[in-house]
């Protein structure tokens, strides 16, 4: 069992033992997104507009930051049907984008978790100092 596994397990064992250290999986993060970044952060962009998504008939659950690649993939598939193996390049681009998005979500989770732990440490040290 490496650090990854133990960290994975500790996220939900801590949800039972120490709940105010665990970030929420459903809600927005409690801390400011720009906290700690002196030089700021780049904003995420999507080049496709709402109208493009409408005409491409992309379902709402796929209208995320990877929808640009998805539109290109669907266009390629429509043009090349039934020879869909010709669209592997676009598919790889879309898959890569999704992978990066997932890694970004994991990083956001971990950032939130460390900030919460830091708050907890501060709180405990203040309480210890007060006694």
């Amino acid at each position: 069992m490496g650090t990854g596994t133990s960290q994975y397990i500790s996220t939900f064992t801590e949800s039972w033992s120490n709940p105010n250290v665990v970030p929420s999986v459903l809600d927005k993060p409690k801390h400011d997104s720009l906290e700690g970044f002196e030089s700021g952060r780049q904003e995420r962009q999507r080049k496709a507009s709402e109208e493009d998504l409408y005409w491409a008939k992309i379902p709402p659950n796929r209208r995320d930051y990877c929808a640009d690649h998805l539109i290109e993939l669907q266009r390629c598939r429509k043009l090349n049907y039934p020879f869909l193996s010709k669209c592997e390049h676009y598919k790889h681009d879309w898959d890569h984008c999704q992978n990066e998005d997932t890694i970004l979500r994991m990083k956001e989770f971990e950032r939130e978790r460390r900030l919460l732990k830091r708050d907890e440490r501060k709180r405990l040290s203040e309480e210890a100092a007060m006694e």
């Binding site: 996220t11 949800s15 999986v25 809600d27 997104s33 904003e43 209208r63 998005d101 970004l104």
Partner: protein, 171 residues
């Protein structure tokens, strides 16, 4: 014999006339109708002779008010416990001519209830059922508020960033 001969009671009257499958299984045979519970030795011997049993084999069903009379108790042996390879006159009932019929023979034929001893006793069944149910309910009770989840932040959609409440950044 007409269909009116079918009797809806737990006492079967012996099949003595034919063994073909086109006739109803019950054939009225007043010779084998049970009489009063035997109290004297002579009554016992007569009852044994009536049913085709030896006097030392004959044991009447208990006189407990259920109305069996002097019908014999042929033991907890159902049809599927009898040998499949015996040479029977009636293969369905696994019975030879003149052999007495069990009181509840219609329930214990080979395609119905079996009286064989089960591998698992009733108390074992009850115990394991209750054990499993309490374990299931107990685990639910203890872990109801405990959650298990994939440790990942929620997915970010651009439509939420357009309204200005959230802002989505790269790392």
């Amino acid at each position: 014999m007409s269909r009116l001969a079918l009797v809806r009671s737990s006492i079967l009257y012996n099949q003595v006339r034919s063994f073909s499958y086109s006739r109803p299984a019950l054939v009225f045979a007043r010779d084998f109708k049970p009489g009063e519970y035997p109290k004297t030795e002579a009554e016992r011997r007569a009852a044994a002779k009536k049913y085709g049993l030896r006097p030392e084999d004959y044991e009447p069903l208990p006189d407990n008010g259920l109305g069996f009379g002097d019908y014999p108790n042929l033991g907890r042996i159902s049809t599927d416990m009898k040998s499949d390879w015996g040479d029977y006159d009636d293969p369905y009932l696994k019975r030879n001519f003149g052999e007495p019929i069990h009181v509840v023979q219609d329930q214990i034929t080979a395609d119905k209830v079996s009286l064989a001893k089960t591998r698992v006793s009733f108390s074992q069944i009850v115990f394991w059922f209750l054990f499993g149910s309490f374990v299931f309910i107990g685990l639910n009770y203890l872990l109801w508020d405990k959650k298990c989840f994939i440790p990942i932040a929620p997915k970010q959609y651009p439509r939420n960033a357009l309204s200005g409440e959230e802002k989505h950044y790269k790392f």
